[in-house]
Symmetry: D3
Subunit: 121 residues, 6 copies
């Protein structure tokens, strides 16, 4: 994702379309991995919100913009507040270092996009 990347709608469209291609290819290992990935964030001893926060910070320190976008969206849906988002970002930044900063900027841009959409709804 560059600075001038597409919208969250673009992200979702590409994600959905390619997931369908991958699923249709019928590789059993890959399809089971995708199912397992979904299960991982379901409620258990830890709640969904906590698990999504764990997914977000993991995505930040591994510096994967698409993964960050996905978990920012999910955390937002689970009611993570802006103050909480910034505390997750702070852990990611201190653990991962200044190399995380470009991804932090794009995460904040995503968060602003989500807040703007909520405000205009």
């Amino acid at each position: 994702m560059s600075n001038t990347t597409g919208s969250i709608a673009d992200f979702n469209e590409f994600r959905t379309r390619m997931n369908e291609s991958i699923f249709a290819a019928g590789n059993l290992t890959i399809n089971r991995f995708f199912a397992l990935d979904g299960r991982t964030y379901e409620a258990g001893a830890l709640g969904v919100k906590t698990k999504e926060m764990l997914g977000l910070v993991s995505s930040m320190v591994l510096r994967c913009d698409d993964c960050i976008t996905y978990h920012v969206i999910r955390c937002h849906e689970e009611g993570v507040t802006p103050e909480e988002f910034y505390e997750i970002f702070a852990v990611g930044l201190v653990v991962g270092g200044s190399i995380v900063i470009p991804h932090l900027r794009r995460a904040v841009a995503r968060l602003e996009e989500l807040e703007a959409a909520k405000g205009s709804a």
Copy 2:
């Protein structure tokens, strides 16, 4: 950390001794970073337990055994249960892949070491 690594007591002794050497060297940037690192996990909008869980999952996906040991100890102190530990491990494993497994094994060994110490106290 190899499979046949030292105990948590060894880990803590080396950590404390080297932190003192680093602090004594008087590099202002490094000393401020260490102070900032400590602050990052203090209670804020998110509680200490949640922040330590974020630190643990970050350490797993980045595959840093010493960091995992540190956060396993801190999570254990904050009352993270075995079931919760394994759910954090599950997120780290699915996000980071099978490359995380050797670190998962050592994390579990640390957890068993802590549980054994508690049982014998």
Copy 3:
């Protein structure tokens, strides 16, 4: 590479142009590295197809989109079938974890681009 990246033709044009700039700069270490990189995938005890598959899975787990694009093209030229591609992707996904998924989506998009070009030839 973002979701809305350029075509394989764009990729090749930029790659060729910058390789020429790099070569012209005359840094001996860099130029020898490029030569060595080319040699690495030549037939030896292992065939070219196997070596390109090794290059592809390495690029996936290291999450480098341009490297993936390059090795998808080369594997395709060496006759790797769609079923084989997906088995390489499966190893990359399980070893590298869900963090690989965005790169998997883009790899599949590249593969579809190559298959479409073949179909229309």
Copy 4:
């Protein structure tokens, strides 16, 4: 794994023991991941030997000593020859850079350990 690490027997003992602890903990996501990990290297469009070579090169560029040890053992069982091992190592070294060298040294030590065991059998 340090330079003066334990033997392959030590590696296998720790690996088996901790896998049993992990399995006994009963986390469904983790247990399914382990099952999926095993499936990934079964014969399909690509043979087992090829898949194990893909696992080995992935482990090298991600610089995971335990994963390298595991796949060196498995490749050796599948009949990968010393010349083939070195060509896999060459791809891993050129893709991953000099940072891979310490892991290459330990991979070669593992290979020598396996060859010595075969010679003395």
Copy 5:
């Protein structure tokens, strides 16, 4: 950053705008990290030029395009010559491997952009 990324002016505009959003959010850990990041490259026992070269090579081996762009700009301001740039790139390439090459291409494109701007000034 894709092959067809924006200009340095675009990079700077996005960087400045998002840094302002981040600062305004008022997270103390993050704001202190940003201040510390700035301090790190100030003259000390090592000069600013040397420190910026350290920042550049670190960004290359960690494969962060935005970080590379930032340090290429700063090194250029500090008088790093094209020959010196290529020697930094050579260290980054040999340490980090062929996976660094796509980032090297984009670093060279940035350097050409800066040289062209200087020539036209």
Copy 6:
């Protein structure tokens, strides 16, 4: 390298022995890579000391203990002072984050080992 790792003499002995095994195997790509690796740090537009500092900071942010040990030794031979070492460490720490700290501790232990050897010479 664990906390209770071997001495620099152990490191050098293992390194030399395995390099000889690797060289003797006669893989042309690997042997050329090793030669190229050596050349990379020779004097050019940048001096040897600067290049070794670049190698050290790269090794820190990539978190490779053996690579750090090697470059700490070489930097020490080139006359890098303790104050300069700590400024290199500071760049590595801020760029790479707290995940670098365990490696920083071991780097400092190596530096102390070298200073102690010098003092006792």
